[in-house]
Amino acid sequence: MAQIYEGMFVLDNEVIRAGWDAAKQQVTGLIEKHGGEVKTARHWGERKLAYKINNRSRATYLLSYFTMPGDNIPAFTRDLEINETVMRYLQVQVDELPEGEEAEAAKETGGEFSVPEPPRDEVGTYSLWGEEEEESARRDGRDGRKPSSTSDDATESLDAAAPAESKDDAKADAPDSKETEEKQEA
């Protein structure tokens, strides 16, 4: 049996503006061209990139699960490299389709699904903590993320960098002071 792959494709927003279905068709068409079978393919969000790719700072993600004979993968990736719609791709072997993935993908085939037009390239800024923080705050009704464990050190250190924080406070909190030390060294 052919191996199941999970493919994530970063697509150019210019092409998305012309139509999501056409862009999706380009990728699924490539998979089928190389003897693959598309299990699911769906929109995985449009976001600001952490760094520019092909001079674009926003892009749309397409998440797809497909099977393909392993021997065809090199030819498939070469076609992806040539294709100008796909700016980046990543394919990973998976054991099975994740639960709920089919249901997610099925939403797109329903008539009511539509992808909103992507914003202009320069809109928004990428922030490692910012976007996620805002989103989760909105979702949970919290005002900003409150650090609860060591894992949130980094957010703390950003707070510590603010002038409002007094030196004594920083010292009282061990991970905090460490972070500030690190910052100073840098």
């Binding site: 995985w44 952490a50 993600y61 998440l63 990543l90 996620e132 894992s151 980094a154 250190s157």
Partner: protein
């Protein structure tokens, strides 16, 4: 009793008393989880900081590097 390392420039925060283990390998799509293991400039937290064993730390490293490739996470913050 083993003596604690002296605090100073090269000081590292000690690993948690109890090692942390993951139930499943890290997923590069789970950004909220990955972000917790990054430093302020986007560095991967060391094993001493995360408390993971070799296997878990490796899966974390892999997931972060995959996310970086897709521009979901920065190489340099």
């Amino acid at each position: 009793m083993a003596s604690r390392p002296k605090r100073g420039r090269g000081d590292r925060k000690l690993a948690p008393a109890k090692p942390v283990t993951l139930d499943a390998p890290c997923d590069y799509k789970d950004l909220e989880f990955l972000i917790k293991h990054l430093g302020p400039q986007g560095q991967i937290r060391s094993r001493q900081r995360t408390g993971y064993g070799a296997q878990d730390q490796k899966s974390l490293k892999k997931a972060i590097k995959r996310a970086r490739h897709l521009a979901l996470l920065p190489f340099v913050g």
